[in-house]
């Protein structure tokens, strides 16, 4: 066992200060230490994108990053979006367009989509598909996810969220 390291990180707006093992994955830190189980592991080797969170403003696979690497930074997870009673427009679009089935890839898909909407023009579906191509979904065939992201982008941009 290795010694622990002291980290300070802002997760979903809350400052967190704690000791972690240097080898602990960011995803495990979120799921186990902070009990933020919305972030899921699908492959633990950086291919499926299910564990995607936003670190310092960029979508990041939390299975390919150690918690200590987030020291001094900010992390946004699916829990930072809307609530059950007031879904975020992106979540609302996913619901309206049936862009999720089992829901396992969904948190990672939402965080990737949020990052895309913030940064990319998403002028057409091909751009959306390209942006989502690092997130695997086994249930939906992607069609409704593409539609949901397209529609959410319009709403979010119109309301400057």
């Amino acid at each position: 066992m290795s010694e622990s390291a002291h980290i300070r990180v802002t997760v979903n707006g809350s400052p967190i200060e704690c000791d972690v093992e240097p080898r602990m994955l960011l995803g495990d830190f979120l799921r186990t230490t902070l009990a933020l189980t919305g972030t899921h592991f699908g492959c633990e080797h950086g291919v499926c994108g299910a564990c995607t969170v936003i670190v310092n403003g960029d979508s990041t696979r939390s299975c390919l990053m150690f918690a200590v690497q987030a020291d001094g930074g900010t992390v946004e997870t699916v829990e930072s979006l809307g609530t059950i009673d007031a879904l975020h427009p992106l979540q609302e679009a996913f619901r309206t367009h049936h862009a999720l089935q089992c829901g396992y890839c969904t948190p990672g898909m939402l965080m990737t989509a949020l990052d895309l909407i913030r940064k990319r023009p998403l002028a057409n579906d091909a751009e959306i598909r390209d942006g989502l191509s690092g997130n695997l979904c086994r249930c939906t065939g992607y069609q409704n996810i593409v539609i949901a992201v397209r529609e959410a982008a319009k709403v979010i941009r119109a309301s400057n969220l």
């Binding site: 495990d28 492959c43 699916v78 829990e79 049936h98 089935q101 959306i128 695997l136 086994r138």
Partner: protein
């Protein structure tokens, strides 16, 4: 308006009840549960395909930090019976599936040693210190070679590597073949595939010693089947075992079998008196979760000059892997290829033979579509080959042979009976939606410009919502044909509807609520659907084989009807009106044509709280339990049309257009049905073009990560058009038909036909799937060599 009316919910694209929790990260999958004191299991898995275990040294591993215990087969000997999948099939052999390998390992990935530690990290540290000496044994990994008398036996006690064999005969195939003007044949092959749910398997067992009570949270599709198994294998009464399938991250058939790790965590939790969890990583998933397909099919079709199908013969060899999965057995996939091969067509003469051969690989199990993705691929290829030879358009060829309206119910050569379903209407609808004639015009223009563009069609039928009369898997001795619903209105007027199904993405909490709401006359939000939990249930199984809407929907209708009857009797007394004048909708009971009304809440209070004021015959709970059995089940059918282009440089196949017209009977929620079709087609496209589990000749697994086992991503799946041809099933309550698997059944065949059509100028036939760029490249190379 006095009367409270609202549009029917069945048939409406109601937003899903499940979504808010899943979208906000508040879903609860098995790995999300962390009870106090929980321990983690890490498994040392075999690196050999077939080897004798000579010695296991755990001394160093035991000294590792956080290690609570290390267990081999010997250490848990007698704690649980092994899993044994029996069958009523005559020619069938199965060996017990051990919890941990004892003496011999039979595939790469088989669990040998369990390490229990205080965290998953520490368990994984320690399992690397376990030393196992193996003596590798010779084995055949090729199923055809494995049937030869000289082949070494994977399980010597069976006396053969042939796990099962069966034959279907109808009519006189040799005579009909001889009379056929045109005969087409081929050797078809569909390589091995993984179901690959994004949530890998995860199990959490808790044993309360004081109460002698076992609770298992499991990422299963079949909590009921798991409970029966646990009770049997651990020798516990059913009332002491509760199995919960919480939110489950996809299954696609691979989570319908009882797994050794499911039993193992229960054994360890009982032994250690602490909650014990196992969560597999992706490598473990790819080397231990049941796999699909892996069949070679020699098939021949005889056709008359006018295109009438005369005779079909097929010889199927399936590589079923090392063990027979419970309860489905190793027969489920290969036998269903032969059962369903004649498809939705009129065909008098059929000879189908099948063998399932044991090899040292991961066991084969049910996968979305079971047998039918392969049978449809073969049959639809043969039909296209015959159409080309006869110069008949593939659509006309199918229209000529599809079972017609006046011929239902139609008994297929293998014994399956199709009830009335919209076979021809689906093909017509798909052609119309795709504008088939225009697609052909486009293709001609593109071909003239040198592009490899093709159009593929696939029509199929499947049996869904299977009842108690026939097993969901051939010869399986477990009843999968009944479903029980309990519907209860409690003292607050809220409705609870309890089922044995186990949703893992299908949205059953929504669709079953739609059915209950309509039949009871309450609002969606008044209903809580409980499923995926065996607590208090006499006999339940789960969700698989496109059964849940048909069986749970039917049970819901029966139980809701019975509860409504009780509600109306009570209301009749309380509202002083005849039952015939009463109606209910939106949570309100009303006397038709008057303003007299009462909410379910008010009525429930009067029934339960003001109980003594009711006449004796009305002093009863507003609850009913009803069992539904659709006996033989019903037929679902569809036609798929795909247009593809093969890239002449990368040999990648791009799907340009995709249309599905399907008949799943009365549609409960069109949005959800379309989603199921989209996802099914995407998996079918993956199966047709990308996904392949590869074993080396000596049995090593070559595809142990998602870099090697390639799933379709957002850039590889097109937008699809999905049409519902709603022919209500004559055989089921509510007219529902099952539809969870269809997309995956039709897509590989449609893609294979489209790619064959695209490459037909080169004389290339796609008879092996997946048609990866490498395979297409080789076919093109071969074709151009032959030309030269």
């Amino acid at each position: 308006m006095l009367e409270t009316t609202r549009p029917k919910l069945v048939g409406a694209s109601v937003k899903r009840v499940e979504d808010p929790r899943l979208l906000t990260g508040q879903g609860a999958y098995t790995d999300d549960f962390r009870p106090n004191g929980m321990l983690h299991v890490g498994l040392v898995r075999s690196v050999h395909p077939f080897a004798r275990i000579v010695h296991i040294n755990t001394a160093e591993a035991k000294r590792m930090p956080g290690v609570i215990g290390i267990f081999t087969a010997a250490d848990i000997d007698g704690a649980a019976k092994p899993i044994l999948a029996t069958s009523k099939m005559k020619e069938y052999r199965a060996v017990p599936l051990p919890i941990l390998a004892k003496d011999t390992v039979h595939h790469v990935g088989e669990a040998v040693v369990a390490v229990v530690a205080t965290s998953r990290y520490l368990a994984e540290d320690a399992l690397r210190k376990v030393e196992i000496d193996y003596e590798p044994l010779a084995a055949c990994t090729d199923p055809e070679e494995a049937t030869r008398p000289s082949a070494p036996l994977v399980h010597p006690s069976l006396g053969s590597n042939i796990a099962l064999a069966r034959e279907f005969v109808r009519g006189d195939v040799p005579a009909a073949m001889a009379a056929a003007q045109v005969r087409v044949k081929g050797r078809f092959r569909f390589f091995r595939k993984a179901a690959l749910a994004l949530e890998s398997r995860s199990y959490l067992a808790e044993f309360n010693g004081g109460r002698r009570e076992l609770t298992l949270h499991t990422s299963t599709q079949v909590p009921g089947i798991v409970r029966e198994s646990l009770a049997e294998l651990l020798d516990l009464p059913g009332n002491s075992v509760r199995v919960i399938a919480p939110d489950v991250g996809g299954g696609f058939g691979a989570k319908t079998s009882v797994y050794p790790e499911e039993i193992l965590v229960c054994v360890l939790a009982r032994r250690l008196g602490k909650p014990v969890k196992y969560t597999s990583d992706r490598l473990e998933d790819l080397s231990s979760t049941s796999q699909a397909f892996d069949e070679v099919i020699d098939a021949e079709l005889g056709v008359a000059a006018d295109g009438t199908l005369l005779a079909l013969s097929a010889d199927v060899t399936g590589d079923v892997g090392a063990y027979s999965v419970y309860p489905w057995t190793a027969a489920i996939e290969p036998v269903q290829v032969v059962s369903f091969l004649p498809g939705p067509y009129r065909l008098a003469n059929y000879l189908g033979k099948v063998r399932g051969v044991i090899t040292p690989k991961v066991p084969l199990g049910p996968y979305r579509g079971v047998g039918r993705p392969v049978s449809t691929f073969v049959m639809e290829r043969l039909i296209d080959m015959a159409a080309v030879k006869l110069g008949i358009d593939p659509v006309a060829m199918r229209l000529k042979n599809l079972v017609r309206e006046d011929e239902f119910p139609y008994k297929v050569a293998s014994g399956i009976v199709w009830d009335r379903s919209a076979f021809i209407e689906c093909l017509d609808a798909a052609c119309q939606k795709a504008d088939y004639a225009a697609l052909r015009t486009m293709q001609h223009a593109a071909r003239a410009a040198g592009r490899w563009i093709g159009i593929g069609i696939a029509s199929y039928a499947e049996l869904t919502g299977i009842g108690s009369k026939i097993p969901a898997a051939p010869g399986m001795p477990v009843n999968t044909g009944t479903e029980t619903a309990t519907i209860r209105i409690d003292a607050t007027g809220a409705v609870t509807a309890i089922f044995g199904v186990a949703s893992h993405g299908q949205g059953l909490e929504t669709t079953l609520a739609q059915i209950v709401a309509d039949d009871l006359g309450v609002r969606m939000e008044d209903i809580r659907i409980i499923q995926g939990d065996t607590a208090g249930r006499a006999y339940v199984t789960g969700t698989y084989a496109s059964r849940s809407t048909v069986l749970a929907g039917g049970a819901a209708k029966l139980a809701a009807g019975a509860v409504r009857e009780k509600v109306m009797l009570a209301a009749s007394h309380l509202m002083e009106a005849a039952v015939e004048d009463l109606d209910a909708s939106n949570g309100i009971i009303f006397v038709r044509g008057t303003d007299r009304r009462m909410t379910f809440k008010e009525l429930a209070r009067k029934v339960y709280v003001e109980f003594s004021r009711l006449p004796k015959e009305l002093q009863q709970e507003l609850e009913a339990t009803r069992l539904y059995d659709p006996v033989v089940g019903t037929t679902s059918s569809a036609s798929h049309i795909a247009m593809v282009e093969v890239d002449p440089i990368s040999y990648q196949v791009h799907v340009l257009r995709y249309v599905v017209a399907e008949d799943c009977g009365r549609v409960v929620n069109p949005m959800i049905v379309e989603g199921q079709v989209h996802g099914g087609v995407a998996q079918g496209i993956g199966a047709a073009l990308l996904e392949e589990v590869v074993y080396s000749e000596d049995g090593q697994l070559m595809t142990g990560s998602l870099m090697d086992y390639v799933l379709p991503s957002a850039t590889g799946i097109p937008m699809m058009d999905v049409l519902h041809v709603e022919a209500e099933s004559p055989s089921t309550l509510g007219g529902f038909r099952g539809m969870g698997e269809g997309g995956t059944i039709g897509a590989p065949a449609a893609i294979a036909n489209a790619v064959s059509d695209a490459l037909s100028p080169l004389g290339i036939e796609i008879n092996e799937l997946p048609a990866t760029p490498e395979r297409i490249f080789r076919l093109v190379e071969q074709a151009s060599k032959q030309k030269r």
